[in-house]
Amino acid sequence: MLNKRRDFLKLLSLVPASVVLSPLSKIVGEPVKNANHIIILVFDAWSAENVQMFGYPRRTMPNLEKFSEKAIVYHRNYSGGNFTIPGTASILTGLYPWTHRAFALGGVISKEHSKHTVFNVLNPSYKTIGFSQNVNSDTLIFEAGKDVEKHIPFGSYDLNDRITYDASIFQNDAYSAFLAFENTIFNHEKGRDGSLFGGPIIRLFDLENEKRLLQKYGAAYGGNLPNNYEMFALPNLVDGFIKLLSELTEPSLIYFHVYPPHKPNFPYPKYLNKFNVDNYKPIAKPDHPLVIGPKTYGLQNDARLHYDAFLASWDEETGRLFEYFETSGIKQNSTIIITSDHGELHERGYYGHTAPIHYEPLVHVPLVISTPGVDKRIDVYEPTSNIDLLPTIAKIANIPQPAWVEGQVLPIFETDTDPLRSVFTFDASQNSSFSALKIYTIALIKGNRKLIKFVWPKYTKLEYYDLSTDPEEMNNLVDKKPSDLSQMEEEINTVIENANKAYNK
């Protein structure tokens, strides 16, 4: 069983999506309009390729599977980018990274599009609430400004307080404060601090505090604690979210972005022990030239093991949240969207997500939507993108589609969708946000075909995969010149040319 990884996906991908969709959409009918709340729940760095429901051999998320029994499951959903900033910006704006321009590490959405967010679209029809446990997406929520009526501070559910920019005094200028305090004045143990004397002293206090927290809470996580800049316990996140939901008094849009399963992965030990003995052996794949300091197969697998166990730990906690959705009636009268900003890779000499190598684990992200009227699981196999969330939410809320949006309403919410539409993922982390695109990776997914174009200094390459027969992306078919290769390449070139028009003047 475990050696036949993704076999069932291979089979399913051979079935034309339209055949699967048409009858199901008839069964379900129109989702109910004007749901009470619209909840966007984002798990950071969560790859669909590590969830059994999407074809992974390990059963990492049984509670999600249960939740999905009465939900729409999008099996081929893609993030806009391969790390938090472009991925989140695409969710919030419904735009591809080359349009919203938030594609550098630390970057934000361009001024032109900074108010083009889901918060702006739904405000004032809905009370808008934003929270992110990832500092990078938190700055994007800050950028939305007053369109977010209630911005829950970054560290609200953490065990300690190390972050400066989220203090109330900095609310008017949080992005500058973030870049100054978190990136330079205090580096939070990554290199040297910009504060010569204060830096080390603050570090000592913080580390001493963390030592105490580890003594108090660490046993549950094998002597460690999940952390971003601050330490946190998984149950606190769920408890905090449940409390937030229980206090809602009016129809609300809630963007709730949690850090798990982002690394560092400190899972409950029982899941490490469980997956450690399941004999699952991922296919060994060649190191990629764009990976710096390649990791061995063993190191990648160890990281994968911890990631999977962390997913299972997080799923154990979210089980309580899903139960609350049911018992509180929220699931019956609200739309709940569960997805991720980007995936996570444990192959090709790498583990993590900032390497610009857009293979499936990095950009194929889960998308599960529960909405009133859906009382059985609906599986959708058309390629979709997280840029489709905003137009879909607008449709659910009965709000006219914004003119600037690049995504489309998701299948099921729209019956007349094109199963062969083009979906893109994009990385230009080394390219200036203010100039033409010269260094980038772009992937185009069209049906079961995928073309990846790498344009990097000393490395320009095309890779073409047929995901129906080669879901592991092992056989680059470029040399065999598939019939639609030139057409797909042309489409990519057109996208880049159009994106560069404004900068080449």
């Binding site: 008017n172 500058s176 305090f181 601090d193 830096g199 570090r203």
Partner: protein, 178 residues
């Protein structure tokens, strides 16, 4: 009041101490800023970069003032011959050694608390050369002259970094209010 006046170091000595603190703290802060600038240029406009610089310089000003205040406070408490008399050159030594120690210690504090033993060791490793240099400068006049000369040269920095810090602080306050 007279008692307090007697205990407080002379103003030119305090200015020299402030000059050294401003010089060391701001220079380090600027080094970190310029280290970041290439990546900032990928996603930030000039205005945004200057805003970050303003935060850093404002913080450096507050940090420098804090360091100077600590030195002045300690000098008023200790016997006057220990620190108050010749605060200018003594501050030069203390801040310089502390800066080197801080630079080295930053590398050691990465992800785990070092523990009391290590902290005590660092305190000794920092304190010993500091005291040795202070004694050397106190007893060997040519050494003291050289340090005094350097200290006076560095005090010029008050007229460069202090205005930069004050302007930066005003910019930050303005940004936080509006």
């Amino acid at each position: 009041m007279e008692f307090i006046k007697k205990r407080i170091p002379e103003s030119n000595e305090m200015l020299m101490a402030l000059g050294m603190a401003l010089f060391v703290v701001h220079s380090w802060s600027l080094r970190m800023f310029f280290f970041r600038v290439p990546s900032f240029l990928l996603y930030m406009g000039v205005g945004q970069i200057l805003a970050v610089l303003a935060y850093m310089m404002a913080f450096a000003l507050l940090e420098s003032l804090f360091v100077t205040l600590i030195l002045i406070l300690v000098s008023t408490i200790l016997p006057s011959t220990w620190l108050r008399d010749g605060l200018g050159y003594k501050s030069f030594i203390i801040i310089l050694v502390a800066a080197v120690a801080s630079y080295l210690i930053q590398r050691e504090i990465e992800s785990t608390y070092p523990g009391i033993k290590t902290l005590l060791l660092w305190a000794v490793e920092t304190g010993a050369p500091m005291i040795a240099l202070l004694l050397l400068a106190g007893f060997v006049k040519p050494v003291r002259k050289v340090i005094q000369f350097l200290s006076e040269q560095v005090s010029v920095m008050v007229f460069i970094y202090l205005p930069i810090g004050v302007i930066s602080l005003i910019v930050v306050i303005f940004r936080l209010i509006f």
